[in-house]
C-alpha cells in the first residue's frame, strides 16, 4: 500500500468505519506504523466522524443539511466582511434598478403554469421559449430526466405522461424540491388536460429552479390514488 492508494481509496475513513478487507487493513496498519505522520490524518478523520455523530445526536445536523437561502450562504458572509461598504452600495443600486424596472405591473414568481403565456418576465412580458422535455417512467434509472437549466429565464415545456389514465382526464402537477430524505412542495398547478398523444403539457419558469433534485407528481384531480411521481435533476 502506498500514499496514492490510500488517497484514491479513502482508506483512512474506511479504516475508521471498519470497512476495509482484512488484507487492506493489515496493509494500512503496516503503512501507518511506518509513517507516523499518518496518525494525524487518522485523528482528523476521527474528529470529523465524531463531530458529525455529536451533531446528529444533538439534532443540529438536520438543519445543517438543509439548503440555505442565498443570503445566508457562507461565501456571502465572507464577502460582506471584506467588502461590506461596497456590497451595501451595490445592494442599494440593485434595489433601485429593480424598482425602476418594475414601474409596470408585472408577474410572477410563478413556477408552473398551464400555458406559456402565464409565465412572465420582469417587464411583464412572456418569457422566451426554451426546450421541450418529455417526462415518462424510465425503469431502472435513478433519475427519470436530467434538465440543463438555461443561463437566462426561459419557459421550459414539460410533457408528462401519467402512468394511469384518469376519467375525467383533468390533472394536477406538483413539483417538490428534494431535501435529503424530505420533499418540500414548491409549486402546483391544476386543471391540466392531456394532448392528443396523452401527454399532459405544463410549463416551467427556469429562473425559479435551482440546481438539484426534484420530484414531479401528476395525479388525476378526482383520484389521488392515480398519482405518478418522477425524479428530475436540474443542472447548469
Amino acid at each position: 500500500m502506498n500514499r496514492e492508494y490510500i488517497n484514491d481509496h479513502h482508506i483512512v475513513a474506511r479504516y475508521l468505519a471498519q470497512r476495509l478487507s482484512d488484507a487492506e487493513r493489515s496493509a494500512f496498519e503496516a503503512y501507518f506504523l511506518k509513517h507516523p505522520e499518518m496518525v494525524e490524518e487518522l485523528e482528523e478523520a476521527a474528529q470529523l466522524k465524531a463531530g458529525l455523530m455529536r451533531l446528529r445526536d444533538t439534532g443540529e445536523l438536520e438543519s445543517l443539511l438543509k439548503p440555505k437561502p442565498w443570503y445566508r450562504q457562507r461565501r456571502l458572509y465572507d464577502l460582506r466582511g471584506r467588502f461590506g461598504g461596497t456590497l451595501a452600495a451595490a445592494a442599494i443600486l440593485g434595489v433601485s434598478a429593480f424598482l425602476w424596472l418594475n414601474r409596470h405591473p408585472v408577474a410572477s414568481g410563478q413556477w408552473l403554469a398551464p400555458t406559456p403565456a402565464s409565465l412572465l418576465g420582469p417587464l411583464g412580458r412572456p418569457l422566451p421559449a426554451g426546450g421541450t422535455y418529455t417526462i415518462l417512467r424510465t425503469r431502472g434509472e435513478s433519475t427519470d430526466l436530467d434538465i440543463e437549466l438555461p443561463a437566462s429565464a426561459q419557459t421550459l415545456a414539460l410533457r408528462v405522461l401519467p402512468e394511469t389514465m384518469a376519467q375525467p382526464a383533468v390533472y394536477r402537477v406538483t413539483l417538490y424540491a428534494v431535501d435529503g430524505t424530505e420533499l418540500h412542495e414548491v409549486a402546483t398547478v391544476a386543471g391540466l388536460t392531456p394532448a392528443d398523444d396523452e401527454f399532459v403539457p405544463v410549463f416551467l419558469d427556469s429562473s425559479q429552479v435551482k440546481q438539484g433534485r426534484y420530484r414531479l407528481a401528476i395525479e388525476s384531480e378526482g383520484s389521488p390514488a392515480s398519482r405518478s411521481v418522477f425524479a428530475l435533476r436540474f443542472s447548469r
Binding site: H10, A13, Y15, L16, A17, Q18, R19, E29, F32, L33, K34, H35, P36, M38, V39, E40, E41, L42, E43, E44, A45, A46, Q47, L48, K49, A50, G51, L52, M53, R54, L55, R56, D57, T58, E60, L61, L64, L65, K66, P67, K68, Q73, R74, R75, S142, T143, D146, D179, G180, Q211, G212, R213, R233
Partner: protein, 202 residues
C-alpha cells in the same frame, strides 16, 4: 487482543498512581480527542470508552518497553491500531449482547455530568459544524455526511446522487483539508506526547 486486561498490562496500570493516571487521562484527551470521542460515540459508554483507550496506550507503552516496537515515533500509530482492534472486538461482542448498549438518554445524561468531556466534544462539534457550513451546496453536505457518518461506500453515494467520482473526491478532499487547517490553527500536533507518556511508565 481483548478488552480483558492481560496480567502484564494490569501490572503496568497498577504501577501508575492516581496522579499519573490523571496526567495520562489529560494526555489522551489532548492528543487523541478524535479517537476518544469516536470510541465513546460508538460504544456509548463513557467508562468503557475511557478504559478502552487507556488500555490501548498502556499496551503500546508495554510493547515499546519490551522492544516489540522498535522506534518511539511509531507508538502513536500503534495506539490507534490497538484501539481499533479493541473496538472491533467490542463491536463483535456487542452484537451478542444488546443489553450493554446505552441509550441516547443515558449518553446525554453522561455528557451533562462530565464537563471536561462535554467541552472536548463541543470543540470537535464546532469544528465540524464549521466544515459542514462551509460546503457550498446541500448535496456536498450530504456527501460528507453519508461518507463519514453513515459510512456508505463511495460507489453507492455516487450512484444515488448521480455524481462523478471526481466530484466526490473533491468534496471529501475539501472537508479533510478544512479539518486539517482548523486543527493546525489550534496547534494540534502530536508534539512530545510520548516522551511524557513514557516517563509515566518508566
Amino acid at each position: 487482543m481483548d478488552l480483558q486486561q492481560t496480567h502484564e498490562t494490569s501490572v503496568i496500570r497498577d504501577t501508575a498512581g492516581d496522579e499519573d493516571r490523571t496526567r495520562l487521562d489529560a494526555l489522551i484527551s489532548s492528543n487523541y480527542p478524535g479517537l476518544r470521542s469516536l470510541i465513546f460515540r460508538t460504544v456509548r459508554d463513557r467508562a468503557l470508552a475511557h478504559d478502552l483507550l487507556n488500555e490501548a496506550v498502556v499496551i503500546a507503552c508495554e510493547h515499546y518497553r519490551s522492544g516489540r516496537i522498535a522506534q518511539r515515533d511509531r507508538i502513536a500509530g500503534y495506539v490507534y491500531q490497538v484501539a481499533m482492534n479493541l473496538l472491533r472486538n467490542y463491536r463483535r461482542k456487542l452484537s451478542e449482547r444488546e443489553d450493554r448498549r446505552a441509550g441516547l438518554q443515558a449518553l446525554e445524561l453522561l455528557a451533562a455530568t462530565d464537563i471536561d468531556y462535554e467541552r472536548l466534544e463541543s470543540q470537535i462539534a464546532a469544528r465540524v459544524r464549521d466544515i459542514v457550513e462551509d460546503l457550498p451546496t446541500a448535496r456536498d453536505r450530504e456527501i460528507v455526511t453519508r461518507f463519514y457518518l453513515d459510512e456508505d461506500e463511495k460507489e453507492t453515494i455516487c450512484l444515488d446522487l448521480g455524481l462523478t467520482h471526481l466530484h466526490f473526491d473533491k468534496v471529501i478532499h475539501r472537508a479533510r483539508k478544512r479539518m486539517k487547517s482548523l486543527l493546525e490553527a489550534q496547534g494540534f500536533r502530536k508534539g512530545d506526547f510520548f516522551a511524557v507518556l513514557l516517563s509515566l511508565f518508566g
